[in-house]
């Protein structure tokens, strides 16, 4: 197969899901004729018709709300939320219903909510948020995010096939990463991936920060510093086995995401490693993330977000510790 972008891989994954299961429905704002503002649903309405791929009125709470009703009626809804910053109106439906409906009814809720997330796209306010920790903290949800085209394809298949609700975060700044993908490969929810083997420091990343972690690993390698990069892929459930296997090797860990550090997902990872690897760690677990301020105007996003340098500094500090 030709190399494809992550955007295309997601498109293919949706297409294959629509083909495979007639209960899959795709809907949201502008997903029809336009094919989505990122063209992720390009051509799908044409191929599958307006009943299976449709535009909705501009109302996120109901986009998620109808997904609950459709799921009860036997569908597998795959709603799209146009941008990270516009998922908040749907928060009530997600937290009070999507996450808890099975628990009160016994009825499975195979809903996959797709959300382009993260920064580095030079956008205006509300278009670069990283709200994953809100959902990871919500029991009843599964939360995943791919960092490569291949994982995007396979993880989305897994999410749609899963009988439980999944929040599928798409690192929009990585939509144009390209690689060959194998549509037969499977990526189960709940399994992290060693994106780069190494021995000195474990760098734990997900979604958009995986590529900068890999870049950091490359730069570090030039200075004979070996970083092992873990791509979590699944935030909830969190694959601590893979994380711990790495920390057992490196005894040092850095976790990196775009969301502000305070109470971010890195807190969970750091708390877990600090706990489970208490006797193994040779340096405190470092957390890198967005600054603890609202996402800034685009001109400042590079300074706001963690970058290769900050990862290298944290890795150096971990190696120099003690």
């Amino acid at each position: 197969m030709e190399p494809v972008t992550m955007a295309k891989a997601i498109n293919l994954s949706l297409r294959d899901a629509l083909t495979r299961d007639e209960n899959v429905l795709i809907f949201g704002e502008d997903v029809g004729a336009l094919g989505g503002v990122f063209r992720i649903t390009d051509g799908l309405q044409k191929a599958f018709g307006e009943e299976r791929v449709f535009d909705t009125p501009l109302a996120e709470s109901s986009i998620v709300g109808i997904a609950v009703g459709l799921a009860l009626r036997g569908f597998k809804p795959v709603p799209e939320i146009q941008f990270d910053g516009f998922i908040y109106p749907a928060f009530e439906q997600i937290v009070s219903h999507v996450a808890k409906y099975r628990n009160r009814s016994g009825v499975p809720l195979p809903i996959t909510i797709r959300v382009p997330f993260g920064g580095h796209i030079g956008a205006v306010e509300h278009h670069s948020e990283s709200p994953e920790a809100y959902f990871a903290h919500t029991a009843g949800l599964k939360v995943v995010t791919p960092s490569t085209p291949a994982d995007a394809y396979a993880l989305l298949q897994a999410a749609i096939d899963d009988p439980d609700p999944v929040i599928f975060f798409e690192p929009k700044a990585r939509y144009y990463l390209k690689e060959e993908i194998d549509t037969a490969a499977r990526v189960p929810i709940g399994k992290a991936r060693v994106a780069q083997e190494g021995s000195g420091v474990t760098v734990i990343a997900y979604g958009p920060t995986v590529s900068i972690a890999l870049q950091a690993a490359k730069t570090a390698a030039a200075e004979k510093i070996s970083l092992e990069v873990i791509d979590l892929r699944s935030l909830s459930p969190l694959d601590m086995d893979t994380v711990m296997a790495s920390v057992r090797k490196t005894h040092r860990a850095v976790v990196v995401h775009e969301a502000p550090v305070f109470c971010g997902f890195g807190a969970e990872v750091a708390a877990r490693i600090s706990h489970d690897a208490f006797d193994l760690l040779e340096a405190p677990v470092a957390r890198l993330g967005g600054l603890n301020a609202p996402y800034p105007p685009a001109r400042y996003e590079k300074l706001y977000l963690p970058d290769v340098d900050r990862i290298l500094q944290a890795a150096d500090a971990a190696l120099a510790y003690g």
């Binding site: 109901s62 709300g65 009703g69 009530e92 628990n103 009160r104 009814s105 439980d164």
Partner: protein, 361 residues
């Protein structure tokens, strides 16, 4: 505010059945197509659910339930609406629709386990076509609409009943769902139980407008009717459901009634509600009114009335007995059992640890 408001829709089969004041016309009443047995059944169900409601309140006062929200005064809506539906039609209730659920055949004792703190949703919605109670106000309305969209997509002939209170109409979710229903022309009947209060907030502070008239803004008709007339509610829901089943889309029925009890057993309405309102509404009691009409029509006699009262009494006692005898499900199952269809390993581990910690103690 508005001096004259007239909304006339060509495809509105309800308008003709009701007077401008929302009363079922005598002519429409005579053409309902319900035989004497069916008419008696409406009465019987109202009596049954009122008695169960009272028993639930008793149970709450005796400490057997943590909370109870009476629907006293709203029986005509509960029974009229449910009788107008087919068993395959789905209902998406809020939290005061116990009577509706009883009419649908859900065991009231089982339902009460929710208020006993044993379950968040004691029945299988798929078996009864009756969704779980929705406590966050108005959040169930988009579910109803989504379900109805699904019915249309599957070319099913089910209709969905979406019920909510007057207070619910202020929430954003209510509006969004109404608008979706209009756009997708979904087979859904919206039934507002306007009982004039949202806890302590009277309708006049809830909105300055009219609930029924809002339908227009979404592209379908709405009507305001007497919610204390079981036949009127029956007629309205039946006609709206028929219309929806034929593919003519949603309808909004605002059934005007009154919350005769407290908001819930935790509430003290004397803090905000004038007694005089209760007196006025007592005179419109849906059961007494209907009984008088049945008697006048010669459809019911004192003997039947007494027999129905007896049946309601024993049903209530049986409900109490079943409830109090019900076992407490094991904690591991109650807390973890229904969260996921495909539980993550870490979740199963946590459950196991939890369960073994219980054995330990």
């Amino acid at each position: 505010m508005a001096d004259v408001v007239r909304v006339v829709a060509a495809d509105d089969p309800l308008r003709a059945l009701f007077s401008p004041a929302g009363e079922l016309t005598a002519e429409a009443r005579s053409r309902l197509g319900l035989d004497a047995a069916a008419l008696r059944e409406l009465y019987r169900n109202m009596v049954l659910i009122r008695r169960a409601d009272q028993e639930a309140l008793n149970l709450q006062r005796q400490g057997e339930l943590g909370l109870w929200g009476q629907f006293l005064g709203q029986e005509a809506i509960h029974v009229g609406a449910m009788t107008a539906l087919r068993a395959t039609d789905w209902v998406f209730p809020s939290y005061r629709e116990f009577g509706m659920a009883m009419v649908r055949g859900i065991d009231p004792a089982e339902m009460l386990t929710l208020f006993r703190g044993l379950s968040h949703g004691p029945w299988d919605p798929r078996r009864y076509h009756f969704a779980p109670l929705a406590i966050p106000v108005a959040t169930q309305v988009p579910h109803a609409v989504g379900f109805a969209m699904g019915c249309r997509l599957k070319h099913g002939d089910e209709v969905v009943l979406s019920t909510f209170g007057d207070g619910a109409t202020s929430e954003g979710d209510w509006h969004e769902a109404m608008n979706f229903a209009g756009v997708f022309k979904t087979p859904v009947v919206f039934l507002c139980q306007n009982n004039y209060w949202a806890i302590s907030v009277p309708l006049s502070k809830q909105t300055a407008g009219s609930i029924a008239d809002r339908a227009l803004g979404y592209g379908f008709p709405g009507i305001r009717i007497d919610g204390n007339d079981v036949l009127g509610v029956y007629a309205a829901v039946a006609a709206a459901a028929d219309r929806a089943r034929q593919g003519d889309g949603p309808y909004l029925i605002e059934a005007v009634t009154y919350r005769m009890g407290a908001h819930t057993s935790s509430d003290d309405p004397t803090r905000y509600r004038p007694e005089s309102e209760l007196e006025a509404w007592n005179a419109k009691d849906p059961i007494a009114r209907y009984r008088a009409w049945l008697e006048q029509q010669g459809i019911i006699d004192e003997g039947t009335v007494a027999a129905i009262a007896d049946a309601a009494e024993s049903a209530a006692q049986a409900m109490r007995a079943r409830l109090t005898a019900m076992p407490t499900p094991p904690p591991g199952e109650a807390i973890f059992g229904r969260v996921y269809s495909n539980p993550p390993e870490s979740f199963l581990r946590e459950r196991e640890e939890f369960e073994s910690s219980l054995e330990g103690s």
